[in-house]
C-alpha cells in the first residue's frame, strides 16, 4: 500500500497548494485524480515520487519510508516527455538506462524497432512518450504516478495506450495514480476517482 500521509506543500513566496492531504493506493489498483489546472497536481506527483520533499507529512511505501537503494519503487511518468530524455542520446540508450527492463513492455506499448537508432528530436511527442512510459515499468517498480501522460495522443491512440497501461499494471500488480483533466477518460480506466480540489484543504 502506498500511503500519502498528512502532506502539506507550498513553494517559496506562494500560498499553500495543499494541506494535510491524505489518501492511499493499493497494489494493482488504478486511482484516477482530476483537478483544476495549476492547482498543484504535478507538484503532488513529484512529492509522491521523491523528486520534491514535502514541507509536512510522509509518503509511506509498503510500510517503509526514507531512502531506498537502487531503483526507486515509485516511478513518475512526466507530463512532458521531451524534458525527461537526454537530447543527445539515442532512444536505445534511453531504454538501456533502465536495468532489467522486460522487452515485452516495448512491444505492448507499440514501440517500433526503427525508432531505437533515432534521437529524441527525431520522434513525435507521442512516440517519445511511449519510451517514457516503458521506462517506468522497471522490475523494481511497485507504484506508478502518471501525470497527464496522454494529452499529446489522438483519441484512438490514447485508448490504445491506456489499454496497454491497464494490462501492464494488472499483470504486474502495480498501483497506479492517473492524473488528468479528462474526467471521462478517468472514468473509463480507474477503479476509483479522487477529486484533487476536494482533498487539498485550501480555500
Amino acid at each position: 500500500m502506498l500511503e500519502i500521509k498528512n502532506i502539506s506543500f507550498k513553494y517559496e513566496r506562494s500560498d499553500w497548494l495543499f494541506k494535510h492531504l491524505n489518501f492511499t493506493i493499493e497494489q494493482g489498483e488504478i486511482v484516477g485524480m482530476y483537478g483544476k489546472s495549476g492547482s498543484g497536481k504535478t507538484t503532488l506527483a513529484k512529492i509522491i515520487t521523491n523528486y520534491v520533499s514535502p514541507i509536512e507529512g510522509d509518503v509511506i511505501i509498503d510500510g517503509e519510508k526514507g531512502e531506498f537503494q537502487g531503483i526507486y519503487p515509485v516511478q513518475l511518468i512526466w507530463q512532458h516527455p521531451e524534458k525527461v530524455v537526454n537530447p543527445k542520446w539515442k532512444l536505445i540508450e534511453v531504454i538501456e538506462e533502465v536495468e532489467g527492463l522486460d522487452k515485452e513492455i516495448i512491444n505492448i506499448l507499440g514501440i517500433k524497432k526503427e525508432w531505437f537508432n533515432r534521437r529524441p528530436s527525431e520522434l513525435s511527442g507521442g512516440e517519445l512518450q511511449r519510451f517514457c512510459i516503458a521506462r517506468a515499468f522497471s522490475p523494481n517498480t511497485r507504484y506508478i504516478v502518471a501525470d497527464e501522460i496522454t494529452s499529446m495522443f489522438d483519441a484512438i491512440t490514447q485508448a490504445q495506450i491506456w489499454h496497454a497501461m491497464m494490462k501492464l499494471v494488472k499483470q504486474r500488480n502495480i498501483g497506479l495514480l492517473a492524473i488528468s483533466h479528462h474526467i471521462h477518460l478517468l472514468e473509463k480506466i480507474s477503479d476509483r476517482i479522487i477529486d484533487f480540489n476536494n482533498i487539498c484543504n485550501v480555500r
Binding site: G70, N86, E93, S138
Partner: protein, 277 residues
C-alpha cells in the same frame, strides 16, 4: 516573415560557411605548425658563408648572424611553442574538468572551487607565470606548469556553469530515481555534454599559452637559449636590430601573431559551429 524553409536553408548555408572557415584554418595550422616536425637540425645549422642575408627567394625570411635560415628557425620555433602549448592546454583542460566536477559534488566544494577561481583570476597571468617559472627553475617544465596553473580558471568557470545547468535537468533527476550512481551520471550525462565546451576551451587556451610562453622566454625566465623557441629568436634578434637586420625580428614576430590569430579564429569558429547544433 520568412518561411521555415528559407530559415533552414539559410542556416545550412551559414553552417557550411563556418565549416569551410574551420577547414581553411586547419589547413593553415597544419602547414604552419606541423611542418616544424619535418625540419631537422641540419636545416637550421650555422653556415657562415651565408650570414646576414636579407630576405630573398632562397631564404624567405633572410639569414641571421650565423647564417642560419630564419624561415626554418621560425617554423621550428612555432613548432616548439605549439608543443609547449599542447602540453599546457591539456593539463589546464584536465584540471578544469576535474575541478568543475568536484565543485558539483557539494555546496562546500563548490564554494572552495569558486574561491580558487576568483583568487587565480585576480593575479595577473604574467606575474604568476614568472614567479612559477622562476621557482621551478625555468625550462620547459617551469613554463608548462606555469601556464597550466594560470589558465584553468576561465575554462573551469564555463564548465561549472554547464554542469549546474545539466545537473538540474529533469532527465538527470530521473536518472537518479532509476538508481544510477553519481559516477554513472557523470560518465553518461555530464561528460558527453561537456566535451564540446571542453574542446573549444582547449583550443582557445592555445593562443594564450603560446603568447605567454614567448613572452616569458623573451623576458629570460623561460626556455633556455639553446632551444629554438620563438621567444628566444626574438630576444636574440633584438640585439642585432640596431645593425639594421630588421628581418630577424619582423618575420618571426608576424609569424607568431599569425599563429596565435589562427588558433583564436579556429576556437571561435568551432564554438559558433558547436553552439548552432
Amino acid at each position: 516573415m520568412k518561411s521555415t524553409f528559407q530559415m533552414d536553408s539559410q542556416n545550412t548555408i551559414h553552417r557550411k560557411r563556418l565549416l569551410l572557415k574551420i577547414i581553411g584554418l586547419l589547413f593553415f595550422f597544419f602547414i604552419f605548425v606541423l611542418s616544424g616536425f619535418l625540419i631537422g637540425e641540419e636545416q637550421i645549422e650555422a653556415n657562415l658563408s651565408e650570414k646576414n642575408l636579407s630576405p630573398s627567394l632562397v631564404h624567405l625570411f633572410g639569414t641571421d648572424w650565423l647564417g642560419r635560415d630564419m624561415f626554418m628557425r621560425t617554423l621550428k620555433g612555432l613548432n616548439l611553442s605549439f608543443q609547449v602549448g599542447l602540453l599546457a592546454s591539456s593539463i589546464s583542460a584536465v584540471l578544469a574538468l576535474t575541478l568543475s566536477l568536484l565543485a558539483s559534488k557539494s555546496r562546500l566544494l563548490d564554494y572552495i572551487v569558486t574561491i580558487l577561481i576568483d583568487l587565480f583570476l585576480s593575479i595577473p597571468h604574467l606575474v604568476a607565470l614568472i614567479l612559477i617559472a622562476f621557482v621551478l627553475g625555468g625550462g620547459i617544465k617551469g613554463i608548462v606548469v606555469g601556464i597550466a596553473l594560470t589558465h584553468w580558471p576561465t575554462l573551469t568557470r564555463v564548465l561549472r556553469a554547464e554542469i549546474m545547468q545539466i545537473k538540474s535537468a529533469e532527465y538527470v533527476q530521473l536518472s537518479k530515481k532509476l538508481g544510477k550512481s553519481r559516477m554513472w551520471i557523470v560518465k553518461h550525462h555530464f561528460i558527453p555534454h561537456l566535451i564540446p565546451q571542453l574542446f573549444v576551451g582547449f583550443v582557445l587556451l592555445f593562443p594564450h599559452a603560446i603568447l605567454h610562453e614567448s613572452a616569458i622566454t623573451f623576458l629570460g625566465f623561460g626556455l633556455s637559449p639553446e632551444q629554438p623557441a620563438i621567444g628566444i629568436i626574438l630576444s636574440e634578434s633584438m640585439k642585432y636590430l640596431s645593425t639594421g637586420m630588421w628581418w630577424l625580428v619582423l618575420f618571426p614576430g608576424i609569424s607568431l601573431i599569425a599563429m596565435v590569430a589562427i588558433f583564436d579564429a579556429l576556437g571561435n569558429n568551432l564554438r559558433k559551429f558547436i553552439n548552432r547544433e
